[in-house]
Subunit: 473 residues, 4 copies
């Protein structure tokens, strides 16, 4: 069946707050701290208790919002969203939160994750006369809610959620309440915080530090939390739950200063590096990491291996969005706008290059070449996670089966393809060990599907790739 699976989707970040006089401004800062989770677009919807008002745009949080816009978003409650840059674009219509107005009131929706049966549900709804305005799987939830026969939004939502399969962290807001729902496997991170008397919610705990909120607790798998002027109320919409938090959140995606399920991301990465150093056991002169995400694991590796950690690769801090493509000749000369090697550091050295993962192999190949051209005698590539053999359907845009190099090639073959002198992946056990060592203990389950192919949910044959989503409109 996996042969038919066509793809996977997008990662995003969500933030919400209820009952604070500066709701829009706090949401702005919250989204800013989650910017690494999505750079395509950003949006904020505020509620003043009587109506919802939206402000959205394409680009970074600091590009989308001006001080004037934020000051005009009056209201005590807000939800916000940052959207990941999918290949096929998407346009302003897909920027979240989605806002639905009807003569019975308004509903705003922000979503991080991926609904694996979105396409089947959409077919069904359209056959019943529903008109979809976006190509987003998020809109499906709105239609399911509207068509549910139940009387209260809570019941409508619980009914609708039972029809969804996949990974989701949903924020919904009306004039009267903020509803928070996490999928029954808890695939995506979602935490509750408190700033003064006001509850807030965010994809990552780093948002709480930035706005001066305290961490309260993580949202649990299958939990539905309702926040309104009476406080926080929790219940469960599913009792068939498991704990399958995405491992790649630790390995690559989240910010180093976030804690996921009690485990700090930087510390987890450093541990991954330490375990990797023990598993690899390579003779070399220096250890270098690929900035920014692999710096922590490279330092852990260097410490464990007793080797000097060096800054062998520099990331240009001002990359920005250049639309100017180098000409063929310049490309061959190797224009390096994002990453440059530090010649004096690697020249004549046996270099261990630590990276977090290999998806298609093209980036690794480019970096190995770059280091060798800069004079490295040997380049040993050490990856702080296992080979990624299966696509992710839960909101991380990896690739199809065919494009995943580790799905098509052995480690030895990959090593040759990328031109490295040796290639070591962290073992599955080492990965679990390294992350699980801290926090609430070994029982904390993790989704390892992209490494093992064991998916925690059903997968459907018509689950769409992001660019297919656009075309299917």
């Amino acid at each position: 069946m996996l042969a038919e699976i066509r793809g996977l989707n997008e990662e995003c970040g969500v933030f919400g707050i209820w009952g604070h006089p500066e709701a829009a401004q706090i949401t702005y800062y919250g989204l800013h701290s989650l910017q690494h989770r999505g750079q395509e677009g950003a949006g904020i919807v505020v509620s003043d208790g009587e109506r919802l008002q939206a402000q959205k745009g394409e680009g970074l949080v600091t590009e989308v919002f001006t001080e004037e816009m934020i000051s005009k978003l009056h209201g005590q409650s807000a939800i916000g969203h940052v959207r990941y840059a999918t290949a096929g674009g998407g346009g302003i219509v897909n920027v979240q939160p989605l806002l639905f107005n009807s003569q019975n009131g308004s509903l705003a929706l922000a979503h991080n994750g991926n609904i694996v049966n979105a396409n089947a549900l959409k077919h069904q709804l359209e056959a019943q006369g529903s008109i979809f305005q976006t190509s987003s799987d998020t809109e499906v939830l709105a239609h399911l809610i509207k068509r549910s026969g139940f009387l209260t939004l809570k019941e409508q939502l619980k009914n609708a959620l039972t029809m969804l399969k996949g990974a989701y962290a949903f924020l919904l807001m009306t004039e009267n309440e903020l509803l928070i729902a996490l999928d029954p496997n808890g695939l995506r991170p979602l935490s509750i915080g408190k700033i003064g008397d006001s509850y807030c919610v965010a994809s990552e705990t780093c948002a709480f530090d930035i706005i001066g909120a305290e961490f309260v607790r993580d949202v649990l798998p299958g939990e539905l939390i309702i926040i309104n002027d009476d406080g926080l109320h929790s219940e469960f919409f599913s009792y068939s739950t498991s704990n399958a938090i995405c491992t790649m959140e630790y390995v690559y995606f989240s910010r180093p200063d976030s804690d996921i399920q009690g485990i700090n991301v930087h510390s987890a990465r450093k541990n991954l590096g330490r375990v990797l150093a023990r598993e690899a056991n390579i003779e070399a002169d220096v250890v270098t990491g690929v900035p920014d995400s692999s710096i922590s694991s490279a330092i852990g590796f260097a410490e464990e291996a007793g080797l000097p950690y060096e800054m062998g690769l520099i990331k240009n801090r001002y990359v920005g969005r250049t639309f100017i493509k180098p000409s063929q000749e310049l490309r061959e000369r190797g224009v390096k706008m994002k990453l440059s090697p530090v010649r004096k550091v690697v020249e004549g050295k046996r270099v261990i290059m630590v990276d977090d993962s290999i998806v298609r192999g093209t980036t690794s190949k480019r970096i190995v070449t770059m280091l060798k051209e800069a004079g490295a005698k040997e380049v040993h590539v050490c990856i702080s996670s296992p080979p990624m053999k299966s696509p992710c359907f839960y909101g991380i845009d990896t690739s199809t089966h065919e494009e995943l190099i580790a799905s098509q090639h052995s480690v030895e073959e990959i090593c040759k393809i990328i031109g490295a002198d040796s290639l070591t992946f962290l073992s599955v056990e080492g990965t679990l060990d390294a992350i699980g060592r801290q926090g609430y203990g070994k029982n904390c389950g993790q989704c390892m599907a992209c490494f093992t192919g064991e998916y925690p949910t059903e997968i459907f044959s018509d689950t769409l790739l992001p660019h297919e989503k656009e075309l299917s409109r």
Copy 2:
């Protein structure tokens, strides 16, 4: 006399190339690699041998130029400039290269440095009927050239340069040649490279790596280089020269992958950290650096001290240009948009925080507070350069005498002000030692004026602060 000195100026980056079919595009990439030297504005002037054409704007290189603009900049030669964000603004009129047209041909000018007697020269020129269009000290050179009685541009330029005091790396371009001049003390870095048969010139060697050029040599103090279709010709406009390259280029300003006078910047910083560790000799649990500029010295420190290097502070990669100011309440809660502590790393630890310099002390105080609020048991601040007691007049925007905390306070007082448990500055000897250990040896002189007050040139009482420049227009 120093009591009357009112200020100092701006840092910038320059790039030029002669005789390459893709001159504008290469200059674009060159400027992009020098972006860290100036983010206020950027400009490129190209020559097709018959006329000069300029394109400039405020903002980052990737914001100023579109692919279409670059493709319209026809010509085989180009010079470019990135401009530092001075406090008082400046506007598009001051973005360089400056382009002067007359009925005898055109002249483009790009400048990195600061002319300390600009104001006096401007007074004199205005008294003779010259009209200045910018508030830039760079324009003075154009007027001196135009009013010089000599017949050729080379002679006019040599004559004009004898009137200038201060630090300067000048690029001048006409329809027929590219002229390069470095001040007699060699205060600012400037290097020659070669891409195919075409010579290029850049403030830092990292530009050569990015465009695939080879490093040829550094420009020498007092040297005038002329590049035209006949090749490269060198002569000297001054024989009273010294080697006084700015120490802060190594400590803070340049990119880690650049080499200045044969010494790699990352390596110099790591050495600074090592020497600092020996001088400091502090008991602690972890070493952390203030990103990005102090990572190298922190790693050197950690290695020398045998302590673990940790990522105790995270820099938000998407800071961008937010014009949204946190409200008073949020400010008190400590909104941290640029830098956040990693609580799990510092909690309960004795932390050594390595930074490159202390100017006013406000940033250091904020970081120390941040680390303590995140649970650090002790915070020991170690600075990888000596106390900065005197303003810089050569192009680095430090501050006035009164604002430099080390000019007003002892090390003990500063330690108290910033709330640290201890404060260690690297010694002057240690600094010379650490940088001079590599490269062409100890004889390579350095400007240490901001630490010692011994300036390599005359200083004038009417040298202007950047914001005063604006007002004086």
Copy 3:
């Protein structure tokens, strides 16, 4: 019942073409010629036979579209829309054509007119689970089509149209066909043209002159025209029809070079002026018109009265969109950005000022004052239509009952309010007479509802005002 009627709506312009290689460009020019019908927004949807593609924006046609945009709108067929500036704004989401995508294909919709039972239908549809994305009455048609049980779009559309009451000229486009529908009373103008072998459709015939098309015929009340690659096919969705073209299209709204039902608008206006002159019979020195819409009737008046026609009022051609409000003091001094009197023309004269209509009376008062301040001895106001006593529900944004000065005051009272020396309205009979004299004869019926209160359709108590539409979202 009329006392409860709350308002009316917006005027717009539509254009469509099927099967021409330059469909988007022709639609651009067509919309440009209809710009006077709506300046808030413009949009074009093209079909290349396989998919529909939209481009829309707020502002004028020349502001919304760039040459690049038009060149990217590939396809042989297109529909376009210009939208009237309603008071309450509306935003990009309401700019037409609306484009609905589903897994069975796409549907684009452009509409000129007003559905008087839109609100009731929307209530019903929302109760059944439909989610509306716009506040436009146009979207109701899309939902009715989607929920109709019929198999073909033609049948679905015919079924849906029977549920709509009001005035409408609809263009619908799918990958395979262009559908055109006019309401059973033919309240809005809509004509078919031909350019080469390709049929086109436009709100006004002036669009055909501009693009070099020939006029074919007017669309008939209750007619449904389908244009596809097999040619043009016509049928009727209603047999209970009448001819009630809006009189204000002749009096004020349409372009003078358009023909509506065979009658040229400029000629109709000149005739209105002639009849008015006979009915008024006033002694005066000069006749002047309020530019631009009343110039034709003023010239007709002057010729009939044997008086000189003079340019007593000048309209500033560069008014643009100034958001700069004059201060109170300047307002009192009478800043005149749009209209200025020509002092030398009116000084000491008895002036007949011809205008097309009086809605609230404020503009007339301002012009009379302006003329008197410029020295006019007497100002006689002559209006080339009857007193407007009842609001329009069919797409012209007049006003509510309470705001219509002629609904609240007698002619004598209005004359006093506006400060005129006399005030003459054209009679209802004179109006019919003047317009009906030409074209296909007297049988050509006209909607005179705004003058007489006799509406050709049912009116519902919840018909919304434009600004109420926004609020009801």
Copy 4:
């Protein structure tokens, strides 16, 4: 000698005010009323008595300025400028007022006219070491002032003006005074007004009506007016003066509601039409004017000829700035975006088409063709000015000798070229007669150089065309 004359220049509009709390806002409205004199760019410089502040941009007044910008232009005095769209562009650097800052104070300059010896003076100044920043002839005056040895600005200016030849209406502003100078032949219009106690100055009197100012008097040829906090002071910098106001200001350029030297422009045009009707004496059915500038003369013509005036040509009010070029095919079909014929008005009729002038003949040819294609039986072209045989060097962008159709062809030949049934130009005597009949009598001299070739000033062989100006930079 005329064979060597290479060209002519640009028309503009100027406005200034001294000592009014709302100086910037009033200047904004003043410039808005002068918008017809220049649409390429606009600028305002304000003085608060201590410093000058500029705001400029390309485009219309309403596009260049926002409410926020105007509100930030603090000061009691201001000058402003609107710039004509020259073919070769020019860019923001040439948008006026020019602002020159020096250590002795600031000087702002706005200019309407053309300095015929600008090029020679520029050569001379550059040879002396001056650097020009713009390609504008206006900058020459600033350099002449700066290099003059006199002590006060008034004396420096008087000295500089004696070196200038040509047409000019100059406004100069410093922190302390507003200086106004008109060339010794009074070629360009310039008038003084008063709003409350504050004097203002404008190119046309229509600006006074718009801002609620009273007309005081016209500035006289060779007069220098100084306005400061002590009031208005007048003296003459030349006693060799004549009155040679530009005839084309009456015929075409000025707004109909302006008075130039006591003569209303609309009335002058109507008179031109009347005299033309008497001179032409043609049998026809209808008279039509080419909008907007020929409507007045067409009405005068129709009244004198006893023929009906009809709106045979419609100008699209929303032409805007379309950069979308019709394809070849569409062009051949005759896309008419700016002007359309009213078929029903001209069909089968003998049409007299009144226009103000013929420059190259291409527009006339296009309109004649348009009218014939719309069914006109005969088209008789009547021009309300004499054949334009010589280029203008005084600020109106006509054309070179070679491009002026009347310089190369007889009236009969032109008639054939444009395809008219007859062609009549107003005689030189008729022109003088028609304009001179009103106002201060026949003695009021006029520049008729473009009709007669008799220039009131010297003309130099290096007077530049506007596009040559750009190239010469």
